[in-house]
Subunit: 145 residues, 2 copies
Amino acid sequence: MSNLKFTFSGESKNATKFVGKARDFEIAIDEPPVLGGNDEAPNPVEYTLASLAGCLNVVAYIVAKERNITIESLKIDLEGNLNPAKFLGQDMTNRAGFQNIDVKVYIKSDVSPEVLADWLRVVKERCPVTDNLANDTPINVELIS
Amino acid sequence: MSNLKFTFSGESKNATKFVGKARDFEIAIDEPPVLGGNDEAPNPVEYTLASLAGCLNVVAYIVAKERNITIESLKIDLEGNLNPAKFLGQDMTNRAGFQNIDVKVYIKSDVSPEVLADWLRVVKERCPVTDNLANDTPINVELIS
């Protein structure tokens, strides 16, 4: 299969709300009041976590199928902490984004913990969003004014 | 301000669909048919792009306010390409995720291109999602079976 292209295009509605489309799907982003928004949608970093969860789910099933593992249920909890000081311009010492992302994968299956441990190792290695977050991804921003 | 915690928790509905919650907001993720899904929601990497767009929007306004720049309109187009070979287990040569992300920021404002160029430099530096994608972010995955 050749390269796949994905896009998202949209416009700012105000200082915290942004609405755009990925194909025919509309996605709205806002901030909670503590970050200056009106809380009309999930915030940007919550979508980062959702993106990671959805990607782990897809790759979980692909690798399970290859290995004849039956997934009976799969739940994923994700948590990330960030210090808003850099984002808000108060202190440039810390990084702007999540310091790390903690993921708990709750799985019921028909195989041993040892088989699952190797399954998880491969899922992480082949998950596109894990790759983009865990490793450097060039972000090229062009300004058109 | 102390660290802020963000979470997303959900469960797999099938091999491509995952539904979870960030606070009270439900977010559904699926894949298009070409990637084995039923196309009921945006896919994981489309949410990655939306997350980045929403974050750039928020930081754009924060930095503009600090510099007395009036943003009259702001549109953002994002595009990412990935080779699905690693994700699908066909070839482990290339990276799993986006090779890079191309962002076009269309802005109308009351300042010169030179002022905007420096504004954009700072926006990128302080944007949490740009940071998490552009730089290494530890992803700690715990398996509970």
